[in-house]
């Protein structure tokens, strides 16, 4: 019989405050609904263009379409078969299949209702979160990169640690690590503002009120393209974010985002640190 390995004390710490948890879940819900209703809206015209205008007679840079029952994605001049995933899937000739759109069947007016309702939820909740993060110090204390974290050497070290799937343990796991901070800051300060502003740029009324938005993005169809690229950005963030949650311990991570309490991962045994 083997001896029980000596257990390292793994204290529960209160890591995530209530306002952050509330915003996280409201934001997660909004972004999922925005992505799914957005895919339905995309299905209404599954071509993207650069510039001020763009319709069926003009040159798109991205098309998700179908030849009969064969789906394809065409990027520039390159066409890739995607039957079963995009263009033609689930017996439906639409860019995105019913499984991932809101509503499941073609319904542009309903998708727009979902999209705009949750656009307001997203915008108002991110404004409330930003006010909280500024006033409470969450932004400076937890999300801002510390002085020592701002060096390329430090970031490179962090990238290598991530690539080896070695995450911070013990007390170091109490704080976000630099790559994590950069990912969260990118969503909050780049992706969300960009997706909201490009969304607003597609509004003919707001074009009259704020013509500088069109100048900024190079025209309505460019704004529409950037809007969808942002959506891919969100999808990419979600994929990596969920992967990290799974790798870092899904129960522990979920508990900390629901109750706030997080069990610090045990320090790695010394033997693991051998060169």
């Amino acid at each position: 019989m083997e001896a029980e390995p000596e257990r390292v004390a793994r204290p529960l710490v209160y890591r995530t405050k209530l306002p952050v948890r509330i915003w996280h879940w409201i934001n997660a819900l909004s972004i999922f609904i925005m992505l799914m209703s957005g895919m339905m809206i995309f299905n209404a015209h599954s071509r993207l263009y650069w510039g001020k205008f763009g319709a069926n007679f003009d040159q798109p840079w991205l098309v998700i379409g179908n030849h009969g029952q064969a789906g394809f994605v065409r990027l520039g001049g390159v066409e890739v078969p995607t039957t079963g995933f995009l263009g033609y899937a689930m017996d439906t000739a639409r860019a995105f299949p019913p499984l991932v759109t809101i509503p499941t069947g073609y319904n542009l007016s309903a998708a727009r209702d979902w999209h705009f309702f949750f656009a307001w939820v997203l915008v108002l909740s991110v404004i409330a979160f930003l006010l909280y993060a500024l006033i409470s110090g969450h932004l400076r204390r937890d999300l801002g990169l510390k002085r020592e974290e701002r060096s390329l050497a430090h970031l490179w070290h962090d990238i290598k640690e991530h690539a080896r799937l070695r995450f911070p343990t013990g007390e170091a796991a109490r704080a976000y690590n630099p790559l994590q901070k950069i990912a969260y800051l990118s969503v909050i300060f780049v992706l969300i503002p960009l997706v909201v502003l490009t969304g607003m740029t597609m509004s003919p009324t707001l074009n009259a009120a704020m013509p500088w938005l069109l100048e900024l993005f190079g025209g309505r169809q460019s704004a529409r393209s950037i809007h969808f690229l942002c959506a891919f950005g969100f999808a990419g963030f979600i994929a990596v974010h969920l992967l990290m949650v799974v790798l870092a311990g899904p129960i522990n991570e979920l508990r900390s985002m629901i109750t706030g309490w997080y069990r610090l991962p045990a320090e790695r045994a010394v033997t693991e640190d051998k060169p």
Binding site: N56, L108, D113, F117, T205
Partner: protein, 249 residues
């Protein structure tokens, strides 16, 4: 012996999930709550912009090489075909409803009336855009000429085409009706408006989406309320397909 394969279970489970989602989407309560978002769009957009703020205007260099036709491409009914055959010689536009002096104008009279020319972008609700040059009579001019009643709140456009088995119509409120770029266009890219684009005249209400740009306009009616007009929601797409009356985004 029954065999439940993983694929069957997956397909069945997915079907149930999708059915559940659709039930939520189809609920009238959900639809009413969600439409608050679009109502907020109207309130917010009216709040942040001057009522006369102009939609961006472009140059001839920006024109779409080929302007896609939206909605009906040809009404193709007997009355309309007769009008096309006579080059709209007998066609008249009625301006009536809550006005002191209802009147009718021929196409020749409209073409000789004061006009505005603007190169603007047409945005379909589906997502595509096309840029064209439109020339037409400002709607505000016609409404003032007719002596709009102070009870009037909306202007309804009755059209010659049918879609989804119903008469096409649209409506706008007075903010858009008196907007300087709101015109009844008889000329597109320097040519008389083609059948595909809404001959003899179509509405241009440049701060809204394509389905508001009524084509084949026969009659302009000032009303106090949209209740009781066709389906009551202010437009064919609004009545039949649940699109919002305000199409500013």
């Amino acid at each position: 012996m029954s065999l439940i394969t993983r694929r069957n279970a997956l397909v069945g489970g997915t079907g149930l999930l999708l059915a559940g989602c659709d039930k939520i989407t189809a609920s009238p309560t959900v639809k009413n709550v969600l439409s608050l978002g679009q109502k907020a769009n109207l309130t917010a957009q009216r709040l942040v912009q001057d009522r006369n703020a102009l939609a961006p205007e472009f140059t001839r260099a920006d024109l779409s090489p080929k302007f896609r036709e939206n909605g009906t491409r040809n009404p193709n009914n007997d009355d309309y075909n007769r009008m096309v055959a006579s080059n709209f010689a007998d066609w008249t536009l009625a301006v009536d409803g809550l006005v002191a002096r209802p009147f009718r104008l021929s196409l020749a009279q409209l073409r000789n009336a004061p006009a505005r020319t603007q190169i603007t972008r047409h945005d379909c609700v589906e997502g595509w855009s096309a840029i064209g040059e439109w020339t037409g009579v400002p709607l505000g001019l016609l409404l003032r000429q007719a002596g709009l009643s102070s009870n009037a709140k909306y202007v309804v456009f009755h059209c010659a085409d049918q879609l989804l088995g119903a008469q096409y119509y649209e409506s706008i409120d007075l903010v858009d009706a008196f907007h300087p770029q709101t015109i009844l266009a008889h000329t597109m890219n320097g040519q008389p408006l083609s059948v595909g684009h809404g001959a003899p005249i179509r509405l241009r209400v440049e701060r809204q989406l394509g389905y508001k740009q009524a084509k084949y306009v026969m009659r302009v009616e000032a009303v106090a309320s949209l209740d009781g007009i066709y389906g009551g929601k202010g437009g064919l797409w609004e009545d039949r397909s649940g699109y919002q009356w305000y199409a500013g985004i």
